[in-house]
């Protein structure tokens, strides 16, 4: 069966190469037959990759341990969902996952745009196929998931225990999907450069694709934080590890893009800038896909290292030279249609937000590669870890939050002093009052107060926008709820965007709380002893040990009192999985409340029955996940398809029809 996969992959390379050639030649010679042939080749690549992926899933489900990849990443005792998820747990499978989802997405893009963008589509197809070809070459010749063992193993090795978690079912596919999906805006941008069709066409076609990629990559990051938080056992959700940074960077540049693209749509400015942003985002996505595997940077997430490094750097270099080359070539045709009118305008504040976002990306990138720089120049390998990024990126994020409040208050084109006073007055007052209240209840760490001042300012700004928008409709006689819903519907992108902002602010508040007010204790408890931390008292019961199918577990039971009230027991544990006995993994005990999380890790134990525990109280972390859900809702509001205007034959005068539609 696995041989069918091998054949499908080989055929897919051939089809992809033919598709590129046919599309480009067809477009150059204006030969519709050839163009259509190229499109069909692309669709056959989709079909072939779906077959290959299905074959691999089938091999996993039927426990075909004659296939090396299956034998190394699964075992008979794993549950069915995890067995299927093992598909993308190693390098070969995650490449196949990327390639397959790209192929399916390519099919969707062709289906949605073939008639709408006749001029761009052959090139979009060719570019997507070129990216696909790189992955297919890797899959066929460097890292093939269908390689057979010389024998059939009786059972597989099983999954790395850290990956045996529900997070495994959702975080990797979403994150990889986020990386993958930036290919589409990139392909449209590059097609626009190649064809010279540099109008708003490509931007309009890719608006939703870009927002979709942004949302998926953002969710991928948040799910990664959630997984790290409840699995890795160091009390946090973000460790500024190179792999995490690599996932954050394309998302930040993508954020800059979805903002600055609005300036181009409304004012026809910043065309070169937007193209550059999309090129950077795509290449950082490729960088993020591979940095986990390349072994260039050391990381806690490197579950599989490999020889892919040189190939992927070559691909990156090629893609950068090609796309930047076209950008440079078209530069004279990319002049802006308007000039900036004032430094006090929506446009200018977006420009500043872009600058800060890129500043954060630069600092993050520089910090991530700095160990390589010192090693090359000085021969010492330094570490650049959390204290660095907190200090350097932290203040930049604060400025960014301030801009989230300022931007929406700025009118397009230019602001008069009167407008500014009217717009800023209430939000600044609200933020000042809220900060005074925080100081009064004892929140007195200066950086935290600064951050919370800015967060409340943004919340007040956003609320003001919603109130103003709704009140216009209220005056028109609509009831409040309807007015609010209609407001959202009237400009989904704008108000959906504000909802996203609220989600981001909730996340920022959660980060502020847990960064500055985390409590932690590192303690050894004998049975019966009690430790107090914040509003919690933990009393140690007993250490236990037992064998379960697939692993041996040691755990401690502790009874917990919260502000003097009994709230039950928790049992932090260490698990020793079969085949991975030397690398036990922690099972974190977590008690989550809106105010704070109690987070307990069993670090070790002594012969006398005492347990070594890491105990954390992490304030406000629940709001991180709530913020993520709000962000998702906001993204869905912006992405929700507009109702296509119904095409009714003109049976009545047009004016009347318009009036009816408006109601």
């Amino acid at each position: 069966m696995a041989d069918l996969g091998t054949v499908a992959l080989l055929l897919a390379v051939a089809a992809a190469l033919y598709g590129i050639l046919a599309s480009v030649l067809g477009a150059a010679r204006r030969d519709p037959t050839l163009v259509r042939s190229g499109r069909n080749a692309a669709l056959s690549v989709t079909a072939l990759l779906v077959i290959a992926a299905a074959v691999l899933i089938y091999s996993f489900v039927t426990h075909d341990y004659s296939v090396q990849y299956v034998a190394e990443h699964s075992s008979r005792e794993m549950s069915l969902p995890l067995t299927i998820a093992s598909f993308y747990s190693g390098q070969e499978g995650s490449l196949l996952y990327w390639a397959t989802t790209l192929a399916i997405y390519t099919g969707v893009v062709i289906w949605q745009n073939w008639r709408k963008n006749v001029a761009l589509m052959p090139y979009v197809t060719a570019i997507l196929l070129s990216i696909e070809t790189f992955f297919l070459l890797m899959l066929n010749f460097v890292s093939n998931p269908f390689v057979r063992l010389p024998f059939t193993a009786p059972d597989g090795l099983g999954l790395n225990p850290l990956l045996e978690d529900p997070g495994m079912l959702i975080h990797p596919p979403v994150l990889l999907g986020g990386y993958m999906s930036w290919s589409v805006p990139f392909a449209f941008a590059l097609a626009a450069l190649i064809t010279g069709q540099l109008g708003t066409e490509w931007i309009r076609s890719t608006r939703k694709y870009a927002l979709f990629s942004w949302a998926v990559l953002g969710m991928g990051n948040l799910l990664g934080m959630w997984w790290a938080y409840h699995v890795l056992g160091w009390g946090g959700y973000w460790g500024w590890d190179p792999v995490e940074n690599a996932a954050l960077m394309p998302w930040l540049v993508g954020t800059a893009y979805v903002h600055s693209v609005m300036i181009q749509e409304r004012r026809g400015m910043l065309k070169v800038w937007n193209l550059a942003l999309i090129i950077i985002t795509f290449n950082l996505s490729i960088f993020g896909t591979f940095i986990v595997r390349s072994g260039v940077l050391s990381s806690v997430h490197s579950f599989a290292e490999s020889s892919l490094g040189p190939y992927f750097f070559s691909f990156l270099a090629l893609s950068l030279v090609f796309s930047l080359g076209w950008l440079f070539y078209r530069m004279p045709e990319l002049k802006g249609e308007h000039e900036f009118e004032s430094a006090l305008s929506r446009e200018a504040s977006f420009l500043l937000n872009n600058l800060i976002l890129l500043g954060i990306v630069f600092a993050t990138f520089w910090g991530s590669i700095f160990p390589l720089v010192t090693e090359a120049l000085k021969g010492v390998k330094l570490t650049v870890g959390p204290p660095f990024f907190q200090r350097v990126d932290g203040p930049l994020f604060l400025v960014l939050i301030a801009l989230m409040g300022i931007g929406p208050l700025m009118p397009w084109r230019r602001a008069s002093t009167r407008t500014l006073q009217r717009n800023f007055g209430i939000p600044l007052a609200v933020a000042a009052v809220a900060t005074a209240a925080l100081l009064a209840i004892g929140v007195r760490l200066a950086p935290a107060d600064l951050a919370l001042f800015l967060c409340t300012f943004v919340l007040a700004t956003t609320a003001q926008e919603f109130v103003w928008g709704t009140s216009v409709r209220l005056r028109a006689g609509q009831n409040p709820l309807l007015a609010f819903v209609n407001l959202l519907r009237s400009n989904r992108r704008r108000y959906g965007g504000y909802v996203v902002h609220v989600g981001i602010i909730l996340i920022a508040i959660a980060i502020t709380g847990s960064q500055f007010y985390q409590l932690e204790k590192n303690t050894a408890l004998q049975p019966g002893q009690t430790v107090s931390i914040g509003r919690y008292d933990l009393t140690m019961g007993q250490l236990h040990e037992a064998a379960f199918p697939g692993y041996r577990q040691v755990w401690a039971d502790l009874s917990v009192r919260q502000s003097g009230q009994d709230v039950g027991t928790i049992d932090p544990a260490k698990q020793f999985h079969t085949n991975f006995e030397t690398e036990p993994n922690s099972k974190v005990a977590l008690l989550s409340t809106p105010l704070d999380d109690l987070y307990v890790v069993l670090a070790g134990w002594q012969p006398d029955g005492s347990a070594n525990l890491f105990v954390f109280v992490n304030p406000l972390v629940m709001w991180l996940w709530v913020g993520g859900i709000v962000l998702l809702i906001g993204a869905l509001i912006t992405l929700w398809p507009e109702a296509e205007p119904a095409r009714v034959p003109v049976a009545r005068p047009v004016r009347e029809g318009v009036r009816v539609e408006a109601i």
Binding site: W234, F362, G385, L396
Partner: protein
């Protein structure tokens, strides 16, 4: 003279940036000694695993190192002295962030240098754009004064559009 709103906004952002960088970051803990211990532990990485901060690493070496930190701090050494002690034993690589001296200063300050450069470029671009715009406006205004009412009408309409958006 009243300061221009643009200057006020930009200086506010600059203050946020500088304050965010310079404000002291004290560890939050129940008692002062524990706060100092955390402050030291969070600056150091586990020398034998993947740079896990010392406060959350559960291997024996890190436990010993935490013991040493506790002992030295309770003998009255300052957090900086304790950090320096570990650097003298394990080298700079035990630090979780590059030291603020010598070549490593580049790690800390290059991002801000790049940001300043970026701001300078954007400001030049903005100013050029504004100047070109002014030339156009002046030419427009030099013309026939009888057109003034129309100009005002256009401006009013634009503002109305902006508000209703």
């Amino acid at each position: 003279m009243r300061p221009r709103p643009g200057t006020v906004l930009l200086s506010a952002l600059l203050i946020v940036l500088v304050a965010g960088f310079a404000l002291p970051r004290t560890a939050h803990a129940d008692d002062p000694l524990a706060a100092k211990e955390l402050q030291v532990e969070r600056q150091l990485g586990c020398p034998i695993c993947t740079d896990l901060p010392l406060n959350v690493c559960d291997n024996e070496l890190c436990q010993e190192m935490r013991g040493v930190i506790h002992q030295k701090l309770s003998q009255g050494e300052t957090p900086d002295q304790v950090v320096a002690y570990f650097v003298s034993r394990y080298g700079d690589s035990v630090l979780l962030s590059p030291p603020q001296q010598g070549f490593s200063l580049a790690a800390w300050y290059l991002p801000f240098l790049a940001l300043v450069l970026g701001i300078a470029i954007v400001l030049t671009f903005l100013r050029r754009s504004l100047r070109r715009r002014k030339v156009v406006e002046r030419r427009f205004q030099d013309q026939d004064p009888t057109l003034d009412p129309y100009r005002q009408q256009v401006r009013r309409d634009l503002e109305k559009m902006e508000k209703s958006r």
